[in-house]
């Protein structure tokens, strides 16, 4: 038997063990509730429905009916948009100021004969 054949068999066995419930249960040896449930994909048996107490349900209902509506004033998305607008405004003012400075420098560096007569 070649090395590749052995590797193939081992791989198939490993795949079978990890995917087939009964093999998994046999491998574990001792059958238990945990093994049975997970092996058979009956995990829903682990989660029988639980209900809130009637007192809790009634009292929460009453509180919800009486609660004042709290509409959040500080919407984080609005705050983020406002911050972004301020940033764009500052950037625009900065760009204009830079352009003005460059214009002044260019104007002053021109030879005197190009300047308008005073």
């Amino acid at each position: 038997m070649t090395q590749w054949t052995v590797a193939g068999i081992v791989s198939r066995v490993a795949e079978r063990v990890s995917t087939v419930g009964e093999d998994f249960a046999d491998l574990v040896g001792r059958r238990s509730l945990m093994v049975d449930l997970v092996a058979a994909d009956r995990l829903q048996d682990l989660f029988p429905p639980v209900e809130p107490s009637p007192e809790f349900a009634a009292s929460l209902h009453q509180e919800l009916m009486a609660a004042p509506l709290l509409v959040e004033a500080d919407d984080p998305t609005t705050a983020a948009n406002a911050g972004r607008r301020i940033l764009y405004g500052v950037a625009a003012v900065g760009s204009l100021a830079s352009a003005a400075v460059v214009a002044v420098i260019v104007f002053r560096s021109r030879p005197s004969w190009q300047r308008p007569a005073a």
Binding site: S18, L33, V38, Q44, E51, F56, L64
Partner: protein
Amino acid sequence: MVDTDPDEVLALRARDNREVFGVLYERHLRRIYNYMYYRTGSAADAEDLTARTFFQALNNLHRYQVQGVPFSAWLYRIAHNLVANWHRDTSRHRTTSTDGLIEIPSEGDGPDHSATVAEERRELHAMLRRLPSDRQQLLILKFAEQMSNEEIAIIMGRSEGAIKALLHRTIKNLREEIMRAKREGP
């Protein structure tokens, strides 16, 4: 008729009618409580987080958009965010999660059998609670809330295929974890 209207219609009407919100509350209370119970493992925490879910829903109804996701998915997303914050906060204070362990009544063949079953369920729930948050959420939505992969995909914001693959991987990992625990013994 309020009682037969779909959730999405009621959610719009509930913005200015508290009684209508009461109908939505009655429809979803048990499932949200059930979800919270299995996410936290304690009735007291489940009550607290269930109450917070409904208050948050009430205060944010004006943001709910019918064209977005179904109302129940929107409600579960609120519940999930709250429980994720709760886990983050409690993990700062608790080193072990032995308090508030789930006690589920089991039908048994006798006191010994019942005790064994209860013990094994506790062990398995402890394993579940060691899983990453998204996998816990997936298992609880699938097996406690008995939702379809499509519904879970909407709640978790993933494709149906991704949910199917994650479910397969999660159950496989759980099996491996049990095998490891059994090999190592008590």
